[in-house]
Point group: C4
Chain length 272, copies 4
């Protein structure tokens, strides 16, 4: 996938996922805060479940498409793992990307089962997500042998977002519905998405001069740039969260705001 | 133990242990969910304890057999630690493996004492398990000096599963009976077991050509292969869990499924 | 910023912040302990909020001033990122420092919004603080390429305090108001502040001979010196805490001290 | 302190501390379990406090003696830090050891204040202990430059026990009175103590031949030996715990053991 498109595509997916999740969790958090003013809880719970089912199906679908694309497009290995004539592994990169998609697909499938049937405990969807991200980071970790300095560096920076997300998703197993963790995960997803785009621009500049991949100053600039992407991701999440909160805000006739706020439940557990 | 058998044997043990644990915890979780429909709790608790006692005895027995085998079979050191005539340590590998078995034996012994007497706090069995796995990983960590690249790499990959399991078992000290953590531990045990088999096939191929232990492509393939083993382990655990849940499912005349599910206890603590 | 002043200035800020926080949290903890003797809770809560608003504004203001100073003073880049005539990045150091200030500014801004409006969950201010410190450490981590041994070492030691603080602030998301964590964060802030001064003295001694930056004994001394700074920070926090506690102590006519003490709430949660 | 005695002395202290702590926590745990049979809680609490005060005083005293010994015995620096005539730091090793003692002394002092007055929150004693152990490990970490392989290795192994203990003590801030964590800390203390003795025997064999400090087999043996020390420490703690439990066991006329056991409080919090 060593191309601009090859980085822009997953980047776009993560950007969309991050923005979608931000909207979803902001909406649910706003709903939870308003729960004592009329909105019947049961209905909201049913619609939440419906939303989760749709989301899981979409993830499952795109993972499947991703695997197919990696295998059968252009110079894919077409499910052939070992080239016996030339005695070497066939298109290992494509196989690795397929494996990454496989784990996100598994996470989607499990989430689908959890939210359609009674078979499995609820927190399993977060564990599967944590494993999917961990697996992505794990494969990237051993992916970088023998590349030039800046190439290695931009991919290593990506690992902060990926392993960070795996950790946050794992913490959510124990603190499900904690809005802080959810928004942090959204932020890291958007960071990952925009950084994939950045990697594309740095390694395969669509126009303009090539970057010097061995210049230490470039490395320092790229590191700082990563911080800016994080700030940008935080900004996007904040704006989205505030917009959703404002749209679903409690009517002004309600009183005792101060008291309500102090007891504002940050975790689903407190309500369930 | 540098042989195919020497890796297949522990691999088989971990596979059996992983499958056994998956069945056990799935069954108990299903029992907990059904508890309000007639199954008397006291009886189930007594049978749980009986099961734990049997399991601990089996672990203790096989650890003891393992130590004896390492010491007295074929070219074992026969409890001789230092060779004074040649001035070198006698069969350090066998001694290291004996030490690993010793810690699993200790974990079994402590678990046996905990479940037969009132002497020690319950959570100690998980701590002992965590220590046993940590010790296994610790010894592997300093085990790999001077081997070839791929040999080191396949053993390092094993460490992810081993230290992961140690961590999960340690978390279980505080979250005892959390089905998510239990299933994660089962998955990592099966991963460890199947990976031991894989190591055997890679380093000592029973038939077919030898692997090139210095080829970087082999290393990348092996890394990806580890992900597939993880996916396979997750599949095994899922199928087992669903089968057990389906066999012990709540009778269909029960109503109010939705409500029950929302309050589905994920931890033993909530019931005790 | 490679100068004595350039290290003394941030050092002073952290020292002031650490001392301020120690006083604030000590006062609030003392107030919580005394709550059952007349001090009306509502009023204290309102004044707490006012204090938070002032503090956030000050942080926001100084971050803004810091960015402006880095950009426009003396040899700053004046918001120019790339020097197209000489084809190199313009003053990367100043840009990196600006980025650090930016994140502290963001933390201040979010904290301001949290404490003036109802928009966001309370725990977000600690998360933003954790991110700001993490970002500071992250930039320092890739900041040290090609410097001499002692220069790298004194900055690496700084990372213990910075990442430690990020971790403690993150833990506070889940254990808000835990006085132990709060005082630990204060200690690490003061440690960071005084160590910035130490770095200034070691690398740019204002008078006296230069240090030999390659002598291993100097490195060992500096390591030990870091411990002393930690001890000093602990001392400052202890003295401040005891002074505040003594000033706000419970009147002596109260009885049943032993019982009160055993139930001394260490976390805000227990009261809210 | 490069001598056999220099390692045996701290080793003995840690051994005594570990055994003492095991006895103390076993006794308190047994007392908590028996609390419903007559033993009045208030009296036990007062005697616990008295015990803590004595313990803190002893730690404080020996830390002070340790600092004095390091400074003024034989070839100590006698509080002189820099040798201006020869232009080098004076006896850095002794200063480092003094610094380690200083932090244990601080932990003792703070614990003394906590248990004699009402000034500070209870959990602070564990935090101070965690900091003292962390500081010990931190100084050891930068202590090993330029030594031979085995020398570095035996000290690195020590770090597992030291940082492990720091982590456990930090966890105790949040899970105070958890018998599992307390016994784990005791085990690691004894491990540390016996390993100090082992280091003495390996690096400065009092009789018999010197060890070859560059032989890789020695390194592998020493690693395994560390596991044995851990097993030994676990054995000592178990025997002590069982003995104390047996001495303070509940009288046999009590009934309903099964039920009591299931609810056996593992944490002080549940009782307080």
């Amino acid at each position: 996938m060593g191309s601009f498109k090859g980085h822009a595509l997953p980047g776009s997916f993560f950007l969309v996922a991050g923005i979608w999740w931000t909207g979803k969790y902001s909406l649910w958090h706003a709903t939870r805060r308003n729960k004592n003013i009329g909105s019947t809880r049961l209905s909201s719970r049913a619609s939440q479940r419906r939303l989760e089912i749709i989301e899981s199906s979409v993830i499952l679908f795109f993972s499947f498409v991703g695997i197919l694309a990696e295998q059968f497009l252009a110079d894919g290995p077409k499910l052939q793992l070992y080239n016996f004539t030339d005695k070497h592994w066939q298109d290992l990169m494509n196989w690795q990307h397929s494996t990454m998609y496989l784990f996100f697909g598994l996470a989607g499938a499990v989430s689908l089962i959890i939210h359609t049937t009674e078979a499995a405990p609820l927190a399993l969807d977060r564990l599967m997500l944590a494993i999917a991200f961990f697996n992505e980071g794990f494969l990237f970790l051993y992916h970088l042998h023998g590349r030039s300095m800046l190439d290695v560096h931009v991919h290593q920076l990506l690992l902060f977002a990926i392993f960070g997300e795996a950790l946050v998703a794992f913490l959510e197993v124990f603190h499900r519905g904690n809005i802080i963790l959810e928004l942090l995960r959204c932020t890291l997803t958007i960071l990952q998405g925009s950084w994939f785009w950045e990697i594309g621009f740095v390694l395969y500049p669509p126009r303009g001069p090539e970057w010097d991949l061995k210049d230490h100053n470039n490395m320092m600039f790229v590191t700082m740039c990563y911080s800016w992407h994080l700030a940008f991701a935080m900004l996007v999440v904040s704006v989205l969260y505030c917009t959703v909160s404002w749209l679903k805000r409690t009517p002004p006739m309600e009183m005792g705001l101060l008291k309500t706020r102090e007891r504002d439940p940050e975790s689903e557990d407190e309500i369930l």
